[in-house]
Symmetry: C2
Subunit: 775 residues, 2 copies
């Protein structure tokens, strides 16, 4: 990377005439922000991002998969290696197994990888090896120097086949362009057995029809993280296939009368549990074969409608250009000037990563398959799926409440539709593709709703939303909630994560209280404010930490404040989780000894040495994601650096936040210190780089940190423009001297939501030393 000094780079930004592209249907011109996005960031090690092509919030996320591992070995043991492939791709690999159409971005558990295509040449081979050994003509080596990843576009050369693969997408359709070095016989392998997080029995059913010599339809049904999931698709080729066939790898004793046909060869119906199909073409060099794949959760008819509406032509470059335009429009909601090009890249890639989920989950006609497996139609909203709420309620949805208000409102409508379809009924916990996967803890949908109600014009249906939140919070068989309601805490005996759950439910209940307050329901408000104080029940004042409590009210004896799992916590130890009272930091600080003691405690957290043994036992984390004992690679501590604001030394927030941005984020494939977690890690960065953070979603306040940008312009959906400037911004000038809102100095450590969305200008005056009077 070529370092640029600040002035040079800002000048460059201001003067360069960037790539301007006219937006379809309007005269608006958009800067090419996409060039600052590097989709490869996070593809190495723990980021779990994928490099492939997609549009913002696109249903199709078309990306190469570099390993088709089974999650369990022959003895039924979990293969730890599988974890690394949550997004299907690891940068260090040198083999591509296929290009599939659905991926999670940054998760720590997985599923998907649907409708995997692979163009091959030479001898047709369908048998599979997941080791990537050469000799199996079903996967290919590749080199990163042939790779190109951009918003809405991905390219790679498959060395073993001499095929240049280019990918782009619309919202619901993936478009492949295969350019063959040599002419002759080529194949497109449709691997319906391939999965991310694959295991024996994952594939429930596959159904394929060759409608004609350029059109294939079908669906696949899988179980797994989503227990009952069906993905319908249509696949269209730009030139007629010469032949086709499939092999079925499952065995059922019953063959029926299909046995009369040579089903494996050019017979247009295929069905079974484990199917790999091939479509054969006579290709010419430099005359690319294009393939469109449209998805639907409803039916192949729905997928066909999606195809016809979104991609009626074969102009790859036009789709690629339109995808980039879409990205530029969305990225342009925050126009940023950074000190360095690397920071510009890290910022826009983070912003890019905040728009890979939730994804649109409905057909062009608004139909989608719901949690009850019935087909529903979104009425007055766009339906979304992939709600990694334990992660994303913290900063991603609050970010949306600032720069993606309309989409966030639709996401809430989608969550309420989920509630309506739920048999419990409950709002989503962690849901994807019409399934509740029950991952992680808390019922943080209530936070997302409370944050929207607090900050936006989301007022319609408040009663409906409140009812959904209250009902969700009272399902006794969910994760200890019954005992939580009875005892005021989840007892140690009920869950290995009892303290984490208690703390998060207390916060969630505070969110419900806020909604009750908005709805004017004082009794409910009081009840939930009472519940929100449950965190006190798991604080051990003698130890000075949150601690698992048993049913009989005594503390758990076998307990180590450094340890994470199985003794009351999940993805964060007692050091981190004891600081989790986002809705009442004042009381927390008092309880833990007052501001001075608390700030020293925070220092100790950031500066202590965490022994390796605890890192090894902490899920989802490596040394890369840790500062002292502070874990940035997981979410429970994301607010911690901002807690200095409630102490005697608020400027420590400013220093810590800048340090986190400097060390936990970066350009390059290893640029994410932990799982991006569906955009939460990236959303933390966006907020922090802009100079503030939502310690308590559901409130209207943002804790002030230390902006990293030189200048940012937020183009808000209400038509207002907010300019954020950091005067004297510099890598050394990390301390905020004063803050002016529209020219007026504010003497507090937070910004109000109104101050942001009313537009105008917020100026941070930066300096190399703390201003100890700014508090």
């Amino acid at each position: 990377m070529m370092p640029l000094n600040k002035q040079t780079f800002v000048l460059f930004l201001l003067t360069a005439t960037l790539l301007w592209s006219s937006v379809a249907g309007g005269q608006q011109k958009t800067e090419d922000y996409s060039r600052y996005v590097d989709p490869m960031i996070g593809t190495h090690k723990m980021g779990h991002t994928f490099p492939g092509a997609t549009v913002p919030f696109g249903m199709v996320q078309l990306s190469p998969d570099t390993r088709h591992l089974m999650m369990y070995d022959a003895r039924g043991q979990y293969v730890r290696e599988a974890y690394r492939y949550c997004s299907g791709y690891q940068y260090e690999d040198s083999t591509i197994f296929g290009f599939s159409h659905t991926h999670f971005s940054g998760t720590g558990h997985s599923d998907l990888g649907d409708i995997s295509l692979m163009p091959t040449t030479g001898i047709l081979e369908l048998d599979h090896s997941d080791t990537g050994q050469t000799g199996t003509n079903l996967h290919s080596r590749f080199r990163h120097d042939t790779e190109r990843a951009e918003p809405g576009y991905y390219m790679v050369t498959l060395d073993d086949f001499g095929v240049d693969v280019e990918l782009t997408t619309t919202t619901r359709v993936g478009l492949h362009r295969y350019t063959f070095a040599k002419g002759g016989e080529a194949h497109v392998i449709l691997d319906m057995m391939a999965n991310i997080y694959n295991f024996e029995g994952k594939n429930v059913w596959t159904f394929l029809r060759v409608e004609n010599d350029t059109l294939v339809t079908g669906y696949r049904q899988t179980t797994g993280w989503a227990r009952t999931r069906t993905v319908y698709f249509v696949m269209a080729f730009s030139q007629p296939m010469t032949s086709y066939g499939h092999r079925k790898y499952d065995e059922t004793p019953y063959k029926g009368f299909y046995r009369r046909f040579d089903q494996e060869s050019s017979f247009p119906e295929m069905a079974g549990r484990e199917i790999r199909a091939h479509f054969d073409f006579d290709v010419r060099p430099k005359d690319p074969l294009l393939v469109k794949v449209a998805l639907s959760s409803v039916s192949t008819a729905g997928a066909l409608r999606n195809l016809q509406r979104e991609l009626p032509h074969w102009d790859f470059d036009r789709i690629r250009g339109e995808a980039r335009q879409q990205w530029n429009r969305e990225l342009g909601r925050v126009d940023v000037e950074s000190l360095t090009r690397d920071q510009q890249i890290v910022f826009y890639t983070a912003l890019y990563h905040t728009m890979l989920g939730p994804v649109v989950y409905e057909d062009v006609d608004g139909q989608y398959r719901g949690l009850d497996q019935n087909v529903h139609t979104s009425d007055g909203f766009t339906n979304y799926t992939i709600f990694s709420l334990w992660d994303t309620y913290r900063a991603l949805h609050p970010l949306f409440n600032l720069i993606q208000v309309a989409r966030n409102t639709d996401m809430i409508n989608s969550m309420l539709a989920h509630y309506d379809q739920s048999v419990h009924p409950m709002l989503p916990i962690w849901s994807h593709y019409a399934n509740e996967n029950w991952c992680m803890i808390g019922y943080h949908a209530v936070s997302v709703i409370a944050d929207a109600v607090a900050k936006t014009n989301w007022e319609t249906g408040l009663d409906r939303a409140l009812k959904a939140c209250v009902t969700t919070s009272r399902i006794p068989y969910f994760d200890g909630v019954g005992e939580y309601m009875d005892l005021g805490y989840v007892p140690d005996e009920a869950s290995g994560s009892s303290v984490s759950i208690t703390l998060e439910l207390a916060y969630d209940d505070w969110c419900i209280a806020q909604l009750a307050s908005q709805a004017g329901n004082d009794a409910l408000y009081n009840r939930y404010m009472e519940r929100s104080r449950s965190y006190r029940n798991v604080y051990d004042p003698d130890l000075g930490f949150m601690r698992p409590k048993k049913r009989n009210g005594t503390w758990r004896e076998d307990f180590n404040t450094m340890e994470t799992h199985g003794q009351g916590f999940i993805e964060g130890n007692a050091w981190n989780y004891s600081l989790y009272v986002p809705h009442d930091p004042e009381t927390l600080v008092e309880t833990m000894g007052g501001p001075e003691k608390f700030s020293r405690h925070l220092d100790e957290l950031f500066e202590m040495e965490l022994p390796d043994e605890f890192i090894a036992r902490t899920e989802d984390i490596t040394r890369d994601g840790i500062i002292g004992n502070y874990v940035h690679g997981n979410e429970p501590g994301h607010h911690i650096a901002y807690l200095y604001n409630w102490t005697d030394r608020p400027w420590q927030t400013q220093a810590r936040v800048r340090m986190i941005m400097d060390t936990m984020y970066g350009p390059g494939v290893n640029g994410l210190c932990g799982n991006d977690d569906a955009g939460q890690m990236s959303a933390w960065y966006i907020f922090s780089a802009l100079g503030f953070y939502t310690v308590c979603p559901g409130s209207r306040q943002y804790a002030i940190g230390s902006p990293l940008v030189a200048r940012a312009t937020l183009n808000l959906e209400n038509g207002n423009t907010l300019v954020i400037r950091a005067e004297d911004q510099d890598s050394e000038n990390v301390y905020v001297q004063k803050v002016e809102v529209n020219g007026k100095v504010i003497n507090r450590l937070h910004l109000e939501h109104d101050e942001l969305v009313s537009g105008g200008e917020i100026v941070f005056f930066m300096g190399p030393e703390p201003n100890r009077t700014h508090r």
Copy 2:
């Protein structure tokens, strides 16, 4: 059985005031024909009928299953015993395993048995044994003297549980009434693992939700004869369950986060491959528990709509009464006076059996899942499924063209919809539940269409139908059709049924020619008339039989005219199949030596002794279904007895037909000599008992036989009434002396369709000796 003499019985019929019931919404009164129906007929041995409750052409056919066999043993060998359970029930059994909602009537291959319920008391047990041993609390012994089977109603006592089970249905909803001898804890077992024709891997997926304490929704997906089939349902209880649960018998290594719940006990979501659920009730003696089960092919939402529309109340007796009324209306289309009560019972039970398939296959809103697995809406027709066309084109659909014209038209519309949804595309061969199962040979949908076009006002869409027929007949990979088109016959090397296929395609092609003629397409007519003469290519004049021919034009050497399978024929040997040229019997007779020689040949067929070894090797047949070497238990010979009409001794038809009716049909559980084959066997009986038969569906002529009824009144849908009388009818007077149509003697051996549907009177004058001048 109490024998009645003819006069007494006819008098009885004429004078008795039968049960009259007012038909809902009209003043029409209907006789209680249902009392002549004995659904137990055919439940023993080969009939493969089921005794349970259903309405005419009902989607729900709710019947006890007396065995839950696996089709394959542990070594993967087919269990021959399974064949006996095509309808789920065998009379000699003494154990009931459940009451399931879908059944085939009379087929020789199977599937279905969906949504099996079993009320139990005592210790809850979910583990299953298919041996019927006592001690497993999941099935119960029963005695036939507690059984009662009527149209629309079935009852039995489960001795092991002390439960009286009563069943009735609407078109789409089954209604169970369970009366417990003792109060206390009772269970309803929902066995989603149960299947007719079950095998390892048959259950693809099961999804259940307990919506509230009286409502369960879900679906099951199976493979098998229907390769990709989904049945959605809702189940409502008349009283709240006290608890519920399930056990999952499949194992997948992946457990997901559902593991956090005690899913097996009162957790409202269940999903997996092999699931058995239980719903627990606190019952009181004499206070019955009722259960409604509505089906849908579309969705649980569709099933719920079906339930709400068809069965919004809990009045069992009302539904039972309405079901019987429906039967009386349909049975009353043919008002018959028989010589004996047994004959009356055999006739009306046969008529009943003609209305158990095809069945309605759409929701109350017209939606149904089609062959492409998409949801379609029937536009202007009612959609039907279960097309056992190789059987039913012969007499069942021709019968419908006489007394169920509207339904038959809808069935054709359903077949054309199937064609539209087919990827080949082809009209149905043997289809059920949105699946082509490819059973048996020929493309006899074309016969059903040609017959309707020839006889009814079915004129709209003739071009569409013709195109569908022509396209269907040109799919080269279907069962030797490619070589049939090239060579003029299916060669021996291509199929073990080459002669049967050639003969049936030749007939089918004649049907297409008739359609082409109707459409005024002479070129097409000529082409298909040419194809229709293909039967000549497999006639070996030296041998005097049809015979498998090899690709090189020579005859197959290894060949026995008695043998059926694997040497050119299926379900009929050369003796029977050589007579299969229904569209050109004149030429056949000439080819085989002229009328005299031909009639002697027929005599030999009926009178020869068929060695046991051939019976043992003939599928679907026992000695019960054979007269000499004539096989009535299978379909290929169903026209044979009528072929004497084309010889020097037509009266032999009259004698043979009466003999067949006397010996191959009867009252009692063993009253069917072979599989009823979706009503074909019964339809043969109805026609023959009325005195005529459709030797060549697609023509407008009916060959005259020998009526068995004393009198019949056909109440036709066109408003006309046709009276058929047999003067001097008697068990000895089997020979037709003369036939008068509306008072005018006809000097021919056939009736014209117009003579039937114009109404009026046809009188057969019967006598004990042939009238050798009537020809």
